[in-house]
Assembly symmetry: C2
Homo-oligomer: 407 residues x 2
Amino acid sequence: MSEIKTVIGGVCAPAGFRASGAACGIKAGSDKKDMALIVSDVMCSAAAVYTTNKVKGAPLEITRRNIENGRAQAVICNSGNANTCAPGGLELADRTCEITAEALGLEKTDIVVCSTGVIGQRLDIEPFEKGVPVLAGSLSYDGADDAAEAIMTTDTVPKSIAVEFEAGGKTCRIGGIAKGSGMINPNMATMLSFITTDADITPELLDKALKEVVETSYNQICVDGDTSTNDMVVVLANGMASNPCIDCEGEDYTIFKTALSFVAADLAKKLARDGEGASKLIECNVKGAPDKAIARRISKTVISSNLLKAAMFGEDANWGRVLCAIGYTDGDFSTDNIDVTMSSAKGTVFVCQGSSHKEYSEETASEILSEEQITIDIDMNQGDGCATAWGCDLTYDYVRINGDYRS
Amino acid sequence: MSEIKTVIGGVCAPAGFRASGAACGIKAGSDKKDMALIVSDVMCSAAAVYTTNKVKGAPLEITRRNIENGRAQAVICNSGNANTCAPGGLELADRTCEITAEALGLEKTDIVVCSTGVIGQRLDIEPFEKGVPVLAGSLSYDGADDAAEAIMTTDTVPKSIAVEFEAGGKTCRIGGIAKGSGMINPNMATMLSFITTDADITPELLDKALKEVVETSYNQICVDGDTSTNDMVVVLANGMASNPCIDCEGEDYTIFKTALSFVAADLAKKLARDGEGASKLIECNVKGAPDKAIARRISKTVISSNLLKAAMFGEDANWGRVLCAIGYTDGDFSTDNIDVTMSSAKGTVFVCQGSSHKEYSEETASEILSEEQITIDIDMNQGDGCATAWGCDLTYDYVRINGDYRS
């Protein structure tokens, strides 16, 4: 398999993608960018995954309808208002697609529309009527950073990545941006991620690859356990790399999926690290579980535990909370022989062996946990299942940010 | 049905129950009480429910074995150490029963043993060898408060209740104590509750009543979503009220279960209110759900949402977070026509109608939410299912308490 290397350029790294971002007046009383546009020079294969929340943002319904045929060419996204549980939401999302299509000379059914922000407040059409033509006029092959910034809500940093790989003898690229800053935050709503690629791939295989990749990336992060109403990951593939179209699950599909997985996992980790109020990224690796599904659930349950997250904030190697979280994970497995280590750039400490206390220096452990990136390795000692999940610590700032988000 | 009225006396309110509590050296470097003893003058029907966590404290296994025959006469409980994931735990719990039985002139299989505190640290037998005889010597019919205090960990207040009712023409009483201060806190481990009654009831019906009552009380509270390894609710019924033995599901069973439910719900609410760091009790009532089970899940999911809990701390009527939590509740129901109001002693504000924004004054809402007890009423408008759950707000103090519990 050819190698995958990171490159600059975010969603504009793949050939034929332009982007822009601007302040269009949705984030009232602020000059922050609040609208992003991403456009491909040619029609794309398109695939998306959506939140499992029963309450869904209006834009999700319009987007689902528009890409039902596996095709799309542009993404319009606003931050500051989720257009969810608010009157006239569907009409507004549909009209936004019309305005965007007019400005770009496309059909409205070729537009992906997304919103993120407060739930339950009416979103007006005026900012789109004024803003979209401005965004269309400022589209640029260097515009990825503007777009990444324009989709932020409580995010503290824009999140962007791009990679390069070879498929069918051609150099292909995949780029992506994302916003959190919980995976999952109903009221600033949402994890959103937009991925672009110049690889040529059928809509069916693009959909399949995305669904598989999501399981081990976006679905394995947690900031607060609250599943948003507006979560969406969209991928557009415009084929401008001129690789032989990926239309079966051969070598090219494998390298494409590996590169897509790299991009998705990178963005997922960035989302976890920038979780609201977070001061640390927590990675949890599980091995020796009966199967992969159980390993995924265990790793995700551990990084989702409020008590474990608070202990990590306190730099306390409180492994009892790891065992407790494993113990209430759904599934059929033994908890009799679990080993746990905690690591960082400063070293590793073996804290639990055979599900029981192991002597270690609390001082050393605390020193190791003082780093910004912590790894918790769990060996269930009973099978071949392994998985990784990413989360963050629970801090005073999480409470502050969410105690008065709207005011 | 006869009335149920509250009386003083906690677990010693029912006839024939004595209790004591003392500092026995388990909470090292502290003069806090850390061991409680509750004893009935005569043999009791006994029933218990245990944590669903796969990792279980050693005392749970010994207690389960001892009350398999539906009989017990005394409860010994220590705080400060959970006797979980630590070497020699089963032997220690068994030996604790022996020591207690010797001091009281009972059989060791008549003893209920419980522990709550840090996971993963060896618990020594010496504090029990020295402490249990002292506790046995200080048993008193007025000792309920000492016992309630001795089982506390991070609890800020002892939790106790007793009620009186008539069954079969006789006055019966039920008393209870509990400790949190999460429902659920692996490392200070545990929600524990001990309930006594002088009603005469068969072990089978006592078990049935307890299991039913737990569903609408202890199982409907949440502080942080972390299910402890040591949770246990035990009820002892000694028959000293001389009522005709409750051996079928007639009128007397109904009044007994109603009284038991009152005690359990009262203790559950006290646990939620004293959740770690909590400044408010949040009650969530759901009606109009397709069935009772879905209503329970919805109410519990809402009070478990970190985002909603943080909003309540911030006194922000952020109803979008209520809809979001409803939307990710497991089950088959519609989210199209949901009404939400928020209330306190200061009034009521109608914040969401038909799953959409309803005009209200944020200022009034904030004033209402400034109270210590908040009620969220949800009408799903689709069936007869109703349920209630209790939780607390998420505060800076939760993070502080759990950031360095062990240090």
